[in-house]
């Protein structure tokens, strides 16, 4: 459904910067929350003191989890200064840098692992981001990647008004192909679309309906359109672990 606006569009609202989603998901802004992060980390079994980069660290809840529960040496990267301010309070032991995934301001082979949750689809250059992630990982390093994906590329949701991982969801094939192209091999890939349902249920319990939730960010008509659009868009959520090759060529 194409939105025909009669007035110039308002500047796009960035979903993950909204307070409401903060509260909803217990401070994190993603399906699965910290529980999913912990699950992935347990699988990776990193030794305490390992260097981990949280790409798109937001307000720092994951950094806190990594440091407190898993004893890891953390670095947080985010393009938004306001996020890094929050992260400084949430995760005082983390090193924080401002920047984007397409140009990570760190040296080569600095990290044992990267956590990148619900962020990849927001970078508008998938190959470069993956290449950068590959560069900063040491050989054998692990990449934990979670995000929304689009099950039917011909039915992308039209959510022009809202900049979020939903409006830029890619097909899963693009992501796995991109990983292979950047030199990663796939260790585990799981489809966790149940987490989207869970998040939607939580939104309904909070706001009464999905449409009322969208009305927090846009006007009633746009909210209705967003609902219709999302209802028909086949979205999924994946959680994968990839590994950089041991021999670096």
């Amino acid at each position: 459904m194409q939105a025909t606006s009669l007035h110039p569009p308002a500047p796009a609202v960035t979903l993950y910067e909204q307070e409401q989603l903060f509260e909803l998901t217990g401070g994190t802004l993603r399906p699965g929350g910290l529980a999913l992060t912990a699950e992935l980390l347990s699988f990776c079994n990193l030794a305490p003191g390992s260097a981990v980069l949280d790409l798109g660290c937001g307000p720092g809840h994951t950094l806190n989890l990594l440091a407190s529960n898993f004893g890891l040496r953390t670095t947080g990267l985010d393009p938004a200064a306001v996020m890094l301010e929050k992260a400084a309070k949430q995760a005082p032991t983390a090193a924080l840098v401002q920047g984007s995934a397409t140009a990570i301001p760190c040296g080569d082979q600095c990290f044992d692992a990267i956590v990148c949750e619900c962020v990849l689809s927001l970078t508008n250059d998938l190959p470069t981001s993956l290449r950068e992630m590959h560069r900063v990982l040491r050989p054998g390093g692990l990449l934990m990647l979670t995000d929304i994906y689009c099950r039917r590329p011909d039915r992308r949701p039209d959510l022009a008004e809202l900049r979020s991982c939903i409006s830029s969801a890619l097909p899963l094939e693009s992501i796995t192909a991109g990983l292979a192209g950047a030199g990663f091999s796939l260790v585990s890939l799981r489809q966790r679309s149940d987490l989207l349902k869970q998040l939607a249920g939580q939104i309904i319990f909070s706001y009464g309906s999905l449409e009322k939730f969208w009305q927090l960010f846009m006007d009633a008509e746009a909210a209705r359109r967003a609902c219709c659009s999302l209802a028909t868009a086949p979205l999924g959520y994946y959680a994968l672990i990839a590994q950089k090759g041991l021999r670096h060529g």
Binding site: L24, K197, Q198, G201
Partner: protein, 69 residues
């Protein structure tokens, strides 16, 4: 996970334990979804009150969402 509070002043009391209801954190589930909600319940026997407005309102909406696979 956040908790959704549906506490409200209520005249209902527990018949068995002869005491008023208090806030309690409860996990409700359906078709693989689980949600932490705060409801009025009896501290003595554990009887949990699901008010009509909640059952026919938000609960029903979430049930229908979860049913649409």
């Amino acid at each position: 996970m956040s908790t959704f509070s549906f506490l409200e002043a209520t005249a209902w009391q527990c018949n068995q334990c002869h005491q008023p209801l208090q806030a309690a954190k409860v996990m409700v589930t359906y078709l693989g979804g689980s949600f932490n909600v705060e409801l009025m319940a009896c501290a003595g026997c554990g009887f949990i009150l699901v008010p009509e407005s909640l059952a026919m309102g938000k609960m029903l909406a979430v049930e229908q969402l979860l049913e649409d696979k």
